[in-house]
């Protein structure tokens, strides 16, 4: 196989040539990646390595009118452990201490945690949940537990921070304060104030920051500053008064529980401004417990029943077709129109009574007859008058879900009008309002005819700066003439004040109220299901009203009671009563310092002695011990007084009229 050098070299050149070609191929490929595919991979580089991280803006807080926090965002932490990260040595060393600490924290046994953690490690669980939803303080505590304190890379600690919306006042007014919730499908639900003003004020503007990946799932910021600085949301100051809200909530809750009602709501509104001071909506769940379920006050329209009699009479008074002193025959409590009967709650009716009394006793027949007589020929006029009082339009509230009121109109063909529509309307059937819409009208009466829009917001602030103040909005400057308003006010006042009034049970000597009861049948088309809506709308004090308030309770247990005065009235009274103790009608009280003659006399005697005896022992027997001590210690000599017992001095160790020396001790014995 003779090999010579030439032979080797030839073969070598071949091999070297091959390698050179290989080298060229590498260079060619290099060029191709750089120049032909360069853009693609550069883009890919950006995509894989750089990402825009959203820095969520802090959502603004919701405050009550007194500055209490109603809704705020706080960080919550989920803490997990990567059971594989810790070294075997660390794991065995710290397993028990960690389990002990966790056990102390959660109350589960240490053995449970030891077992679970061992299992997690055996199963290569790199994401084992230790605790969920803990606050910052707990998070800092858990972070320092054995093993976890070694950190993410040695201890396997995984911390995930989320921001949760909290309502510090608990369930109170929760539905009205609201929230913004996004489900898995991306649908957003936004009830209440938080929902209504979330997008515009609370949310703020999210920031953005470019981050670069640095391996191990870690990202570092690309630049010092954020690309887009997050702008925190504004704070929203509501008109809710926490105290009134609390009163309303508990008054309503108590009554709902008493009457085992299905649900109910209460709204308290400041008369002059329309600011909602309290709004409580309680519904019953399967277990019979009540909590804020739906915003009934804003969203649930129902037939008003007797509370609408005020609107009906307002129209008739304004048209000067009916007056308070008109006499109407209630005809034994039953009147029939087209075969349908209007009944009074009192069997046998009220006889011939004035319109005012018909209203006060809430006589259905009386009011219906008066309205029928006045408008039978011209029902459009009645409807138009209601329209003039803005009863047909919704309140255009920021909180979503407010339905439009329903008023049958003979000119509108929507199936609502019928031969008995006018009569039925007169006592609140066929018409439908939300509690807040009804309250707005009652408030207008309280406010001398000025209808103001109910509002939930006082102002929007960014720290101390007011971004947007909310002024009161007048819907109608004069819903009716001054005379009509005065009549209506008198009627409402008499409902409570007059002994025959349906609201007389609410009457109190100490404070005045005005209002109208309402007991409305619900589901009356089916006698089996017949139920009631008990309501009470009114305001207080009766003169110069400060607040108006409506209470609506749906489906009270009929066996317990269902009349508006019984079911809803007490809630109204309790609220009025409690607010009154906070805001008395009488601002000035006579001085409490009533002089008492015996006290005066004692003081005189004491003063006399103190003025007379400066260095000579006085007779203190018979004086109160405290006076005696004070007297002696205030003399011009430094003496020590020793008191035995208490009450009236019986004995003194030094007799009277003896000159006292410095540092002398006097013993007083009292009983």
């Amino acid at each position: 196989m003779a090999v010579n050098e030439k032979n080797i070299l030839n073969r070598l050149y071949f091999i070297a040539g091959c390698m050179f070609v290989f080298g060229l191929a590498v260079v060619f490929k290099l060029f191709s990646i750089q120049f032909l595919q360069g853009e693609k991979y550069k883009a890919l580089a950006e995509k894989r390595v750089v990402k825009d991280v959203v820095i969520p803006a802090n959502r603004g807080n919701v405050y009550s009118v007194n500055g209490n926090l109603l809704a705020t965002s706080i960080p919550k932490y989920d803490i997990r452990i990567d059971a594989l990260t810790p070294s075997a040595k660390n794991f065995t060393k710290y397993l028990k201490p960690l389990a002990d600490s966790l056990s102390k924290f959660t109350g589960k046994s240490s053995a449970f945690y030891q077992k679970e953690l061992r299992k997690a490690r055996a199963n290569k669980n790199r994401y084992y949940l230790l605790v969920r939803n803990v606050g910052y303080t707990d998070y800092t505590r858990i972070r320092n537990f054995p093993l976890l304190s070694l950190g993410a890379f040695k201890g396997g600690l995984i911390v995930e921070q989320t921001t949760k919306r909290e309502h510090p006042m608990g369930g109170i007014a929760q539905r009205t304060i609201g929230y913004e919730r996004v489900d898995e499908k991306g649908n957003v639900t936004r009830p209440g104030i938080d929902g209504a003003f979330g997008v515009k004020y609370l949310r703020g503007v999210d920031g953005q920051r470019k981050k670069q990946r640095i391996g191990k799932g870690q990202w570092k910021p690309l630049r010092d500053a954020n690309e887009i600085e997050p702008k925190d949301g504004y704070d929203v100051y509501t008109t809710i008064d926490v105290n009134i809200q609390d009163i309303a909530h508990h008054a309503l809750l108590e009554q709902l529980e008493k009457y085992k009602a299905d649900h109910g709501c209460v709204v308290v509104m400041e008369t002059k401004t329309g600011e909602i001071r309290a709004i409580s909506n309680l519904g019953r769940n399967k277990n019979g417990r009540y909590y804020e379920r739906l915003n009934y006050a804003v969203g649930e329209s129902h037939e008003s029943g007797s509370t609408f009699k005020l609107m009906a009479l307002a129209a008739a008074f304004e048209d000067k077709l009916v007056d308070t002193s008109d006499v109407v025959d209630t005809e034994k409590g039953i009147i029939t129109y087209y075969g349908k009967k209007v009944r009074d709650s009192k069997w046998g009716g009220y006889g011939k009574i004035s319109i005012a009394r018909a209203f006060e006793v809430s006589s259905n027949t009386g009011i219906v007859k008066a309205i029928d007589k006045a408008y039978r020929k011209q029902p459009e006029k009645f409807v138009d008058r209601l329209y003039d009082m803005n009863l047909n339009s919704d309140l255009n509230l920021p909180i979503i879900g407010e339905p439009k009121p329903i008023i049958p109109d003979p000119r509108v063909k929507n199936g609502r009008w019928s031969g008995i529509a006018l009569q039925w309307m007169a006592y609140g059937y066929g018409v439908s309002f939300t509690p807040l819409q009804t309250l707005t009208f009652y408030n207008a009466v309280a406010n001398n005819g000025v209808m103001v829009k109910p509002r939930f917001l006082r102002e929007v602030r960014e720290f101390d700066r007011v971004v947007e103040p909310f002024k009161e909005e007048v819907i109608n400057n004069e819903i009716c003439s001054k005379q009509t308003v005065a009549k209506l006010q008198a009627l409402l006042k008499n409902v409570v004040e007059k002994e025959h009034g349906t609201g007389h049970r609410l009457y109190s000597e100490n404070f005045s109220m005005a209002g109208k009861t309402g007991t409305c049948q619900k589901d009356y088309s089916n006698k089996e299901k017949l139920n009631y809506i008990s309501s009470f709308a009114g305001y207080f004090p009766a003169e110069n009203p400060k607040y108006s308030c409506i209470v609506v309770i749906h489906e009270p247990d009929k066996s317990v009671g269902y009349y508006g005065a019984d079911v809803s009235g007490p809630v109204f009274k309790r609220i009025a009563q409690k607010i009154f103790t906070d805001t008395p009608i009488v601002d000035e009280i006579e001085t409490l310092n009533v002089k008492k003659s015996s006290v005066e006399k004692e003081y005189e005697g004491y003063y006399q002695l103190a003025q007379t005896y400066k260095t000579i022992m006085p007779n203190v027997v018979g004086l109160p011990a405290m006076d005696a001590v004070a007297l002696l210690e205030n003399m011009n000599v430094n003496i020590k007084v020793k008191l035995q017992g208490s009450g009236i001095v019986k004995k003194q160790s030094i007799n009277k009229n003896i000159k006292l020396k410095d540092n002398q001790t006097i013993v007083l014995i009292a009983s």
Partner: protein
């Protein structure tokens, strides 16, 4: 220093190229170290710098020491070393380090020093010297295939068989290099065909056995399969991930590169300081940097060819080629992987990649080459009177 330089023998240009590569290596290795330090939970990147420096320093010491040895001694040394290497390989395989359930025992702990050592790399150098020795021994004989089986192919296949379960790519490269070397040594081509055939046959058998009895021994057959598959199809696999990152690195480097230490992909490329260091070099120093490294290796190839040409004996020639070509070939494979010309393998970029074994064994090989070229210098000095060929002068200088 002066005396040290005086004592340096052999091809000065090879020394220069090696020195350049070593200097260049610090940049990407130090850059990639930041990620290693971060992942290791430490913060000291300088430790990696020092470590790399120590590796290179020791490498140069080996190179210097080896090149002082007259190269004829390597004949005997290789005979002694072959059984030693076989034992070491066996030990390495036995200890059974496992990566993700696959045999990845490539390392052996050196007692006392506490360093780990990749035995296959040493085995490759020893085997190449051994083959070179055999080929030069039979240079004047006409041998039959049978005659060469026992002294040549048995040790070769034994070595390869011991490396194969844990490292296919190294086995393949060594096999290819052995083939190249025996080809250069004038081994009949028809015998070569038989050898290549039987080599493939053995590989197939190994794979089949491994597939049939997956629990019989831990092996990496599945890893190879997936890597080759991922190279040939479009599905996303882990290897694709590495390659994609490498290509991103190359693409974002552009012509001038992003600058020293500014590589981003080093954070995501596994083995950024060894297997994929070429991609990092291009990302940081651009096309210019990449081509510079390529040129250095090509230049080294050229110098190896020159050294082989000038070697005074057939053994010298085969020795230079036997240990020299694998260095360049490995470099080319490494670069080819980075540019997706080749499936992902664990080949390092000689002298540039971090990692002691690779550096030391490369230095050992270079030491052997230099030893051969030093011998030639000696002869040349003795024959000063030989007339000078201008072409020879030229090739001496470039």
């Amino acid at each position: 220093m002066q005396t040290l330089f005086k004592n340096i023998k052999g091809d000065r240009l090879i020394w220069a190229i090696v020195a350049l590569l070593a200097i260049v290596s610090f940049l990407p290795v130090y850059s990639a170290a930041s990620n290693l330090a971060y992942k290791g939970g430490g913060s000291n990147t300088f430790a990696f710098f020092v470590k790399h420096f120590m590796h290179l320093f020791l490498g140069f010491a080996i190179m210097y020491g080896v090149h002082k040895i007259p190269y004829r001694y390597f004949k005997g040394l290789s005979l002694i070393m072959i059984p030693v290497v076989l034992v070491l390989l066996a030990i390495t395989m036995m200890q059974g380090t496992v990566i993700d359930g696959a045999n990845a025992s490539r390392w052996i702990q050196i007692p006392i020093v506490g360093m780990s050592f990749q035995t296959s790399t040493l085995a490759a150098v020893v085997l190449m010297v051994y083959v070179a020795r055999y080929m030069s021994k039979i240079k004047d004989k006409k041998i039959t295939f049978k005659e060469s089986v026992l002294p040549l192919w048995l040790p070769a296949f034994l070595v390869l068989a011991l490396i194969l379960p844990s490292n296919f790519s190294t086995t393949a490269i060594i096999f290819l290099m052995v083939i190249v070397l025996v080809f250069l040594g004038g081994y009949p081509l028809r015998y070569l065909a038989v050898i290549i055939g039987s080599g493939l046959l053995m590989l197939t058998m190994f794979i089949l056995v491994a597939k049939a009895f997956p629990d019989a021994m831990p092996n990496r057959v599945d890893t190879w399969m997936s890597r080759i598959e991922s190279f040939s199809n479009a599905e996303d696999t882990e290897a694709d991930y590495q390659i994609e990152k490498a290509k991103i690195a190359i693409a974002s480097g552009g012509i001038n590169g992003v600058g020293p230490g500014k590589s981003r992909q080093k954070n995501f490329l596994p083995q950024s300081s060894s297997d994929f260091i070429f991609a990092i070099i291009i990302e940081e120093y651009g096309l210019i940097g990449g081509l510079f490294v390529m040129v250095l290796y090509m230049w080294l190839l050229f110098r190896i060819v020159i050294a082989a040409q000038k070697a005074d004996t057939v053994f010298g020639k085969l020795l230079v080629l036997g240990v020299g070509l694998p260095i360049v070939f490995q470099a080319l494979i490494n670069m080819a992987v980075a540019v997706e010309l080749f499936p992902v393998t664990g080949q390092t970029l000689p002298l540039i990649s971090s990692g002691g074994t690779s550096i030391w064994m490369t230095c050992l090989a270079l030491g052997i080459i230099l030893s051969v070229s030093a011998k030639r210098e000696e002869i040349k000095e003795k024959e000063e009177n030989i007339e000078e060929n201008p072409l020879e002068i030229l090739s001496e200088t470039i």
